[in-house]
């Protein structure tokens, strides 16, 4: 007779957090930049199987170029500076005085909003 005994391997989890600092680099002509990463390392041991997972939890820039207006400006995150809206179509152009971006060619001009506007003004 054999009895089957289920043996659950013991699970062992070790988490460490480490901060690593890159060397100072030259960002083109704008100055010196340095990046620090905080990395969380999770080591999971189940029986003989060991899994290591690393996650970047924080990115910091302790040294960045800010000696000119230009470099301060490019330090700012670019995308959050943009205003986002949904595309709208406005068909009533009577309040407008000029149309831009409309017509590259003479052919298209005859049917363009700018032509319609000029016709309305009787120019």
């Amino acid at each position: 007779m054999h009895a089957t005994v289920a043996v659950t391997p013991k699970k062992h989890v070790v988490t460490t957090t480490k901060t690593v600092q890159g060397s100072q680099g030259q960002a083109d002509r704008w100055g010196t930049v340095q990046v620090t990463l905080t990395v969380k390392k999770t080591t999971t041991t189940v029986g003989r199987k060991k899994t290591v997972k690393r996650t970047i939890t924080k990115v910091a820039v302790p040294v960045y170029p800010n000696h000119t207006d230009r470099s301060v400006f490019i330090n700012q995150q670019a995308i959050p500076l943009l205003v986002q809206e949904e595309l709208q179509a406005q068909f009533n152009i009577s309040q407008l005085q000029v149309i831009g971006g409309a017509t590259d060619t003479s052919y298209a001009f005859g049917q363009s909003l700018q032509a319609a506007l000029l016709a309305a003004k009787k120019l």
């Binding site: 205003v83 595309l87 406005q90 149309i99 831009g100």
Partner: protein
Amino acid sequence: MGMPIVVEVRGDDAPFDEVFDWFRWVDATFSTYRPESEISRVARGEPPVSPEAREILERCDQLRAQTNGYFDAYAGGTLDPSGLVKGWAVDRAADLLDAAGVHEYVVNAGGDMRVRGTWRVGIQHPRERDAVAAVVEATDLALATSGEYARGRHVLDPHTGAPPLGVLSATISGPDLATADAYATAALAMGASIAPHWVARLRGYGALLILDDERVLSTPSFGCAPR
């Protein structure tokens, strides 16, 4: 240049003849459709003769660098600086009107313009022919738009030779139309993955991008008068 140019003034008398003589000279000198024009001769390898042609070639090089190669007068294989010449010609026409003391005017060349005074400008909707997508209260401003809607896909990514994806139209505002026009062409060529990042970092110029997922992205300074 094969495009309609509209000069409109309020009140003041204006040197219209001088302005249109200037545009005719520009067309004769820079038309890539005329084999005998100076720019056609330069494209065939002859050295530029006029100071204007030298200036245009120099600015093409500068703008190519400023746009990381996305504005490229050689993108189609041969020299074609038309994208810069149009805006530059309008800037010079605006100088003529300023010098003549005209206080309120629009010089609109194929949808790209310089305005003096305050004008309510509609920006053509990229998908609806009879509609505008945005309205700009423009004061003393250059506004240039590059889009796919006017001539089909005429802008290519000079790095891949393929049409870019994702940006239906790019409008740039700022002090100088030649620069604004080159930036608009570059933003369109960059496509939706690069253009928003690039325009957010422009200095002195604002941007309005219409993406093909119907998002409209604009920088805070878009449409504001240059400082």
